[in-house]
């Protein structure tokens, strides 16, 4: 159906917009800012906070501009006296229900309610404080997410995120009236429900009601401890987003500055999770080929295909809860973060002659689920907790500020060597489709001895922000040992965001799909849109971060994981070969069936 154009006036300025446009969007086009709280570009329209009300000439009621479509001849006033009074009342009401201990709040300075309050400057608190004492008790049960109900303004952005984007529904609205609140199934603590720790709710919470469980003080303590050797690893997606929290434009890569800052902060070695991303490709690629061989040549019907990636701990936990019958499809490979920890406290500790018990491994992640992952009981294969602390990109930005480092003035520095070298294939782990692309670049070359048949190695079909992507590559001219794959059409699929993952899993479960390998990232856009990344987030912001990731890949001299010289070295000196005995011990894991309720 073709769209009609609608003429209206906003604050006496005429504008023509497409039918169906909201008043809010039309006003934005005219650069009239209307404040919002419950509105978020990634979510459905709720219209419940009412902060965005405007006056429409002739209407008895004010209209929620986020939820009201324009109509022909409409005359809108975004700042009439009625609107101003109502908006002020609404913000003031929210403040009366909000535990406004702003200076002590983790989100101080990053709170949308605080911003609105500072705009209106409420000197005279006319309303009665309604914060309930029981709400001031924090839920710190989760190693990833802290929930502070006393800060909640009931905008339901978290609930919509958890349901619409993630299909998890760990958070829901319960009760009504003055008892209405956001809670979990049977009001259980967050660590005891289906929460995948993805942290997408945090990215969209306008206040301090949801934020990461932070380990800033623990990490500083370790750095200051002269008996501790503190090693830091940085995930691919952090380097394209950290700058946003430190006054640098969205989409700018800050890899070198980040390394410099970490060194200035006092970390003993600054290493890269990208290294173990390359290693993951070696292990996971080999695992895929092994599964294919077992299925095709040995006709072993116990082999589970399609194989699914396991780097995203939110996705892994989702699978454990929601599709426990498919956990064997998950690759047994640990995530790059955990491979790093296991190797750091064994191979690397030996190599640099540091006792593993004195080593502290800190990882900088775009992710909150990684905090959960490092605490999984399976993740102690070095004999110690493989990764001690996980910090989000946001926490790192805070620490850089605390350390008094002027980030934008830093000169670029390089990662330390051994577990520090990486390829372009590892960098793209940070965005949806990246693991798949990296795996294909390597696997295809292992099988055929030739590069993947895509211009500049860029496997376009698995790139981009479509929810579920598919690609097929016909394998031609195999090496003799892989001739059982000659002519085979390798079918792959990529999903990001758990709602898309659900759609893909349901399709796989119902049969009729012919995938061999599936990449799933728990967060929209992959790690660049992770729950630990700078706030705000939107499709546009994620797109710019993804572009930066691909630019970093193009700029790398080596762009295929199997060509990483340090990876070759670690196999030569320590692991011997992918899926070897040592690899199994340190780099692979198993999964746990979890209940939904």
């Amino acid at each position: 159906m073709s769209k009609y154009m609608v003429n209206l006036k906003i604050n006496n300025t005429p504008i023509q917009v497409e039918e169906g446009t909201t008043i809010l969007d039309a006003a934005r086009r005219l650069n009239f800012r209307i404040p919002t709280l419950c509105n978020h570009p990634d979510l459905s329209v709720a219209g419940n906070c009412r902060v965005c009300v405007v006056e429409v000439k002739g209407a008895r009621l004010l209209a929620a501009s986020c939820a009201t479509p324009v109509s022909e001849g409409m005359e809108v006033n975004t700042n009439s006296e009625k609107v101003r009074i109502a908006r002020k009342h609404i913000v003031e009401l929210l403040l009366s229900e909000h535990n406004a201990d702003c200076t002590k709040c983790f989100k101080n300075g990053h709170c949308e309610l605080q911003e609105l309050a500072s705009e209106y400057r409420f000197g005279d608190h006319i309303f009665i404080d309604l914060v309930k004492v029981k709400d001031k008790v924090l839920d710190i049960s989760s190693p990833s997410i802290t929930k502070d109900s006393s800060k909640c303004i009931r905008c339901q952005r978290c609930v919509r995120t958890c349901t619409e984007l993630q299909s998890v529904s760990a958070l829901a609205v319960i009760n009504k009236g003055d008892h209405q609140t956001i809670s979990t199934f049977l009001n259980k603590p967050l660590n005891d429900v289906v929460c995948t720790n993805c942290g997408q709710c945090i990215n969209r919470c306008p206040t301090g009601a949801l934020y990461e469980r932070n380990y800033i003080e623990d990490v500083w303590h370790a750095i200051y401890d002269p008996n501790k050797f503190v090693v830091v690893e940085t995930a691919p997606a952090t380097r394209v987003a950290l700058g946003e929290d430190l006054g640098i434009d969205t989409g700018q890569r800050v890899t070198g500055k980040m390394v410099a800052a970490l060194r200035k902060m006092g970390f003993n070695k600054v290493l890269d999770t990208d290294f173990t991303a390359d290693l993951t490709i070696m292990e996971e690629g080999t695992e895929l080929l092994t599964r294919l061989k077992k299925a095709i040549v040995d006709k072993d019907d116990t082999v589970r295909l399609p194989m699914m990636t396991s780097c995203s701990p939110g996705w892994v936990k989702y699978q454990e809860h929601m599709y426990p019958e498919m956990i064997e499809n998950l690759s047994s490979c640990k995530s790059p973060q955990q491979m790093f920890g296991a190797l750091a406290k064994t191979y690397y500790a030996d190599k640099i002659n540091i006792k593993a018990e004195n080593m502290v491994v800190v990882s900088i992640m775009p992710c909150t689920a990684k905090k959960f992952e490092c605490n999984r009981p399976e993740m102690r294969d070095s004999g110690f907790k493989d990764v001690d602390y996980v910090l989000t990109t946001r926490e790192l930005a805070m620490m850089i500020k605390q350390a008094g480092i002027e980030f934008d003035k830093l000169e670029d520095e390089q990662y330390d060597s051994t577990l520090g070298e990486s390829t372009g294939a590892a960098v793209i782990f940070g965005t949806t489709g990246g693991v798949m692309e990296a795996a294909l670049r390597t696997a295809y070359e292992i099988i055929t001895g030739n590069e993947v048949p895509f211009t500049n190695l860029n496997i376009q079909p698995v790139r981009g922000m479509e929810g579920v992507k598919e690609a097929s590559i016909k394998i031609k001219n195999t090496k003799p040992e892989w001739n059982f794959l000659e002519g085979v059409e390798l079918n792959v699929a990529v999903a990001h965001g758990l709602a898309n993952a659900k759609a893909l899993m349901d399709a796989v479960k119902s049969g009729g799909t012919k995938y061999h390998f599936i990449e799933v990232m728990g967060c929209p856009g992959g790690c660049i849109g992770g729950g630990g990344q700078p706030i705000p987030t939107s499709a546009e912001i994620r797109k710019r971060r993804a572009e930066a990731i691909y630019a970093e890949d193009m700029g790398k001299p080596i762009r295929k994981s199997h060509e990483n010289p340090e990876v070759a070295e670690v196999y030569k000196d320590y692991l011997t070969l992918p899926l070897g005995h040592k690899s199994h011990e340190l780099l692979h894991t198993h999964y746990k069936v979890r209940k939904r309720y």
Partner: protein
Amino acid sequence: MEQKPLKKIDIIFGWDEKCTPIQVVEKTVKKTADSIILDMIDSGLKGRGGAGFPTGLKWKFCRNEEAEIKYVICNADEGEPGTFKDREILDRVPEKIFSGMTICGFVIGACEGYMYVRGEYNFMLKTLQQKIDIFNKQLQGLKIDFQIFLRSGSGAYVCGEESALFESMEGHRGEPRNKPPYPTVAGYNGKPTVINNVETLVYTSEICRMGPEQFKALGTQDSRGSKVFSVSGDTPIAGIYELELGMPLKDFVDEFGDGDTKAIQVGGASGFCVPRKKFNDTIIGFEGIPTGGSMMIFNSSRSMYNVLHDYLEFFTEESCGQCTPCRIGCQQLLKGIESVKKGERPPTYLDNLKRLTATMKIAAKCGLGQSVANPFTSIVDNFREEIIY
């Protein structure tokens, strides 16, 4: 202002053996849908749930929507404090409701009708279902493609709000939706839907039975016909009464009061409180004070502070909680009058609260939050000293 003397009417509960509800259906479906709509518009019937939207227009809007599936819903979520007339209708003449629903379905082009009955009326479900089964069979016998189904609410007041009712029927939390779209465009399951109050549907059937003239001969220009009132409080003769619309409140008090009437809350908790001094010039009808039928009579032994306090407690609890003005506004009003009563805040704080209700009236998402201003301002304005001292 045009007014009518108090007059008891017997349309709703009357029974015409020569033209039973199913016979009304049989007779009416021989007409064209457009002529039925014209009759409805001509009768001047307005919704009896309280908001008073012209029924004929609602049917017309829905008929004009192009869709394969449409629905008729009978709103029997009678939750307004002081209202109990639908219960009586459901109990005594449910066939008339079914008849109205069927005629509506015929007019708009719907094959399914749902009756959403409030959770507290669950004791009626069994009997209602039996009567629905009989009626459905009769419809099949007449080869009329319409069937009625029964749904039960779970006890939330807000689910009487039409869009919250749809949400509840769809299995979601009972929270009102954003409007537009209105139900006639996208209602239950997103399909064009006519949702009418129990009493409204009975009148549609009765108008089809007796013709619009007889109906519109009753009442005033803006308030045609009669209406069923739930009379409660300080009255020796509490109960259900069908009265012609347009009477002055004074007539009503003379008939139902106990001789010591101080105020009447017209329209339930969300309606208006009228003090004795205004009885003479208050008309019951859309030109005066519209009502869903609740008439609560208070005599001089009642504290209007307690009355308001009860209402505010009710709204504080029954707000769905999603929108800010209603969820927090109700709590502030309740705590606010408590604080003034205790002397913690000055009497002028009531003016702050009145300004807040003005915001709630225009900024809340649905009728619940919008109408809290009605009891608040009418009680505070007329009985200010009782609130303060």
